[in-house]
Symmetry: C2
Subunit: 420 residues, 2 copies
Amino acid sequence: MNKRNAFYAQSGGVTAVINATACGIIETARKHKNWIGKVYAGRDGIIGALTEDLIDTSRETPAAIRALKHTPGGAFGSCRYKLKGLDQNRAQYERLIEVFRAHNIGYFFYNGGGDSADTCLKVSQLSETLGFPIQAIHVPKTVDNDLPFTDQCPGFGSVAKYIAVSIKEAALDVMSMSRTSTRVFILEVMGRHAGWIAASAGLAGEKPGEPPHIILFPEITFDEEKFLAKVKKSVDQNDYCVIAVSEGVHNSDGKFLAEAGSRDAFGHAQLGGVATVIAQLVKTKLGYKYHYAVADYLQRSARHIASKTDLDQAYAVGKAAVEFALKGHNAVMPTIVRKSDKPYRWKIGMAKLSDVANREKMLPRSYITKDGFGITPACRRYLAPLIAGEAYPPYDKGLPKYMSLRNRAVRKKLKTGFKL
Amino acid sequence: MNKRNAFYAQSGGVTAVINATACGIIETARKHKNWIGKVYAGRDGIIGALTEDLIDTSRETPAAIRALKHTPGGAFGSCRYKLKGLDQNRAQYERLIEVFRAHNIGYFFYNGGGDSADTCLKVSQLSETLGFPIQAIHVPKTVDNDLPFTDQCPGFGSVAKYIAVSIKEAALDVMSMSRTSTRVFILEVMGRHAGWIAASAGLAGEKPGEPPHIILFPEITFDEEKFLAKVKKSVDQNDYCVIAVSEGVHNSDGKFLAEAGSRDAFGHAQLGGVATVIAQLVKTKLGYKYHYAVADYLQRSARHIASKTDLDQAYAVGKAAVEFALKGHNAVMPTIVRKSDKPYRWKIGMAKLSDVANREKMLPRSYITKDGFGITPACRRYLAPLIAGEAYPPYDKGLPKYMSLRNRAVRKKLKTGFKL
């Protein structure tokens, strides 16, 4: 086996721990210098490969790479650039191989969600066709937690922890004031298709009556009447009502509530996300004072309250990806395998990319209570270990010390550019 | 001096550390049992005093009281019930004195902002008139940081830290993706009248070009053209633009942007807060993809990322309030006095309530850069020490262990109720 370089790219929305995966890959590769040369990172994800804009991670000190473990965001840049299907744009894939050939890249580590898994599979297939084999390993990452075969996706546990902690704290605030002020608090969370993040809000309340009192899932069609009755009941019983709402909640027409839900007296659509729609509904129909928060990027970048379990797993899949490559595997993805719930134990497994690609793991109906507004004990059993443990970043003068890499470019070798 | 009981109430919006002040008061009072009997807390703030709904804090264990130090929200309930002026509703004040007389209450600790200071002053004056002297001590608390005479207000430092940390993290996210996705990120923060919280976002960026690139203060009239030019410049230079916007930003007519700013093609006002207005403006006029977050209650309840400095000071003002009372002071407020910036040193001072009441401390113009979009070195020097230090709560199974007190009621002694 000749010594060849590795390519690593971050794809799609970044997370609080995707850099921990980068750290796992780079540190593990550095331990096997007889087999793996340099790790080149794509600047802005796969775009860096297409445009031959590679970052030489060997120019970074061990301390800088180690610091990736506590730095959120995407250290090398990510992108929402989606590779087309092979039949639609074969040139994109051929270009990738051309760049890899020029830089003697034999390992392709692609760190992303479902779309990326598909891309990774195609790269693997085409490289063989074109007579330049590279081992393509997909490394799981997505806050949406919707990749199949892995018990969970690195990035999700930290969002889940952020949401559970935040709604628990905000609920204490609302509760203190509810007799004379705000009655209803709404937290809008991510997850356009799958309700995993919304479900994690449910971890905040363990006993009956504890907030959040209502979770609105994308899996459950929004029923205005039922929802309003539930809000009223909660206010009657507890003086207040705390609601977690997924951005993906939709009505019976299949339209997102954020787009379809709220119209003024003249029938004009209103601005704002789903939290605004829910808030207005509560005010108009029930007359309660409300507050709402929109967590947006804060939830997926909140490294300051990352889950230790999630961090460990993010690192572990990076490490495993390199180890798989060294063992000669191709077109696979490291997975997290749950060995037991209590005590929580896990190990690394392996899935074939041909199985993983283009499949989404939705929140099972059995994880949602019968009334559609809460999580079941089975869901809690699944989620609870994923938020366990704290992994605080170092601080200086009251702020986290996040690493900014030098990100030195590798000298280009190709004469041709590439138009994206 | 006869042994008399103490009354303590939380007033107005709660904070991540107001319970630390409660802890300071109760622990210090318990150390002086020869002088102070029991500490009775008002259930839901001053409403508890008016309705004779008192909580007997002596029924709580030392461990429970200690745990208040790491528990956000208002442990005894707070309220937005505002006492009227003496001339408008003398009966309210007379009722307070009646309740205090019935329960042998000689110390009145009122934990709140500017309005509460005024109430506290009036209680002090009237109690003497009615021949039932109580020592009324105001204990500062407000995330708005707008009380005069104190270098800062407990509660503010923790919000400032939350905002600075959150925007720093979200900026890393946006930066990673900006070449192909979101260009502009907007974080809406509290502070309807004073820009202290908005200013704290500025702590996240130390060097030129570092985010946040724009801060919109309530003190600076919103200039659409200038703002859009600044956004464009930031995107041109950095690929992205991170904006912190105060909910109190207003236009040249003096109207809040959140209310006046955004109208659809038919002239109908649009829903949503100021972040939505700014986001739509950026999209409509510049065409950039945006994301926005609304921190709302998350910012003032985020005990998980509270400032150690703030926590220490919140406890210290509670302790000092009791010590002032024991020394015979009346109608005063403990303050934080800054002794030096570097190293940061502070001590407790004292202000007269007659000076404090009805005065707001606004963000000085010298703390805002000339262009109106950033903070000056003087502002940074003021703010930086207030977010220093971490004070993590204990965790269990991935979630903070927040204390829920028993809050046992004191037996009523009065025959009459009170209509609020």
